[in-house]
Symmetry: C2
Amino acid sequence: MAVLAILEAKPMTGYELAKFFDHSIAHIWQASHSQIYPELKKLEREGLIEAKQQARGNLATKSVYAVMPAGGDELERWANQVVPPLHERSPELLKVMYQEWASYQVAEQQFEAHRVYYLQLYVKWAAHAEDLRLGNTDLMRHRLKDASAEASAAVLAYKVHVYEGLLERAQMEIDWATKGIALVERLLAEAGTPPGHRAASPSSARRR
Amino acid sequence: MAVLAILEAKPMTGYELAKFFDHSIAHIWQASHSQIYPELKKLEREGLIEAKQQARGNLATKSVYAVMPAGGDELERWANQVVPPLHERSPELLKVMYQEWASYQVAEQQFEAHRVYYLQLYVKWAAHAEDLRLGNTDLMRHRLKDASAEASAAVLAYKVHVYEGLLERAQMEIDWATKGIALVERLLAEAGTPPGHRAASPSSARRR
DNA sequence: CTACGCATGTAACTAGTTACATGATTCA
DNA sequence: TGAATCATGTAACTAGTTACATGCGTAG
């Protein structure tokens, strides 16, 4: 569905799609080229998209895929079904849950990595949200060029809303990680390490 | 690793593990019995856990799995590696991104489902966090019964921190969905429907 | 004696990752 | 002429889901 939705805005080659999944939409949905190429073939077999051969250079050609009417119908059908939100699996939260097995140092590093990760995402997402608002993205220009003002408003508004949610999420994650670091510091202090003495991990108390 | 961590707190049968994955840990990690049983066999082959046959009734037996020393080492090794946080795929956000293809009604239902989902999670998580804090869970009692006060503090503190994060997350999602509903209402109003006239989906403007 | 919970599996399938491969084009 | 980028694939593998199956124990 992500492939269909993107191609609907602008016909593309598999390569361009892969690039696109790498930046713009990357943090909502990802796909590698090894997944995209077979998927394109499948969508073509189902009559939802169509490949047009385009020359590149003298010898080579490339396949530019565009959405067919049946593909538009499929998109609309999909969009009009409510999906139940679901619980993601989080390898990271799982680890934090059992962080008493780790040294204080590693526990702190884990939170720090979390903080840095979402700080970077915050910046990236904020920039992308701004581009969206200004209609600055390639795809938005294509998507909106022959839409009514009213329709454009909706197209934009939903996407901006998604990014606002992502930004709040990032902020929340940053706060959580910061509190996590403080927690580790507190535990470390409470462990009552005498000066000049390196604290052992709490898990080592368990072993013996 | 989830299986190892749980079994370390208390030896269990595959069935009990499956139950456990259904409630307590369910929103951090899930696993169905059809995944658990083969996994237990695999962990046993690797020497990380060991099955003890226990009678149940007269004829039947059951396998209770317990963590072996090698399993403890493996847990410690795992916990002491920082995992890079990662970008989940979100089918729901993907749909909201392209919600201009849906009717206003479905768009609103999607946000409403999101709100209700996280409201329920909020209640469930809050209850579980409270149980954790009071040491009210079965597993916590086992886990802590022969630990030092200091070690217990860490065991508890990390888990509580995870649940506090989940609660903030749920709150954030509820707010986001509520704003989403308001957004749909606004778009609907701006679409300028005359009284007594049913609004078409914005996507239908695109088609033709 | 019946229903519900305990207990344990397998099979078929879908999705996704990582690695292996290849070749043309374009720009410095 | 070499490196970066465009372009397109396949193979092997891991994880996870859904559905199919079976049978004992226990309480009412």
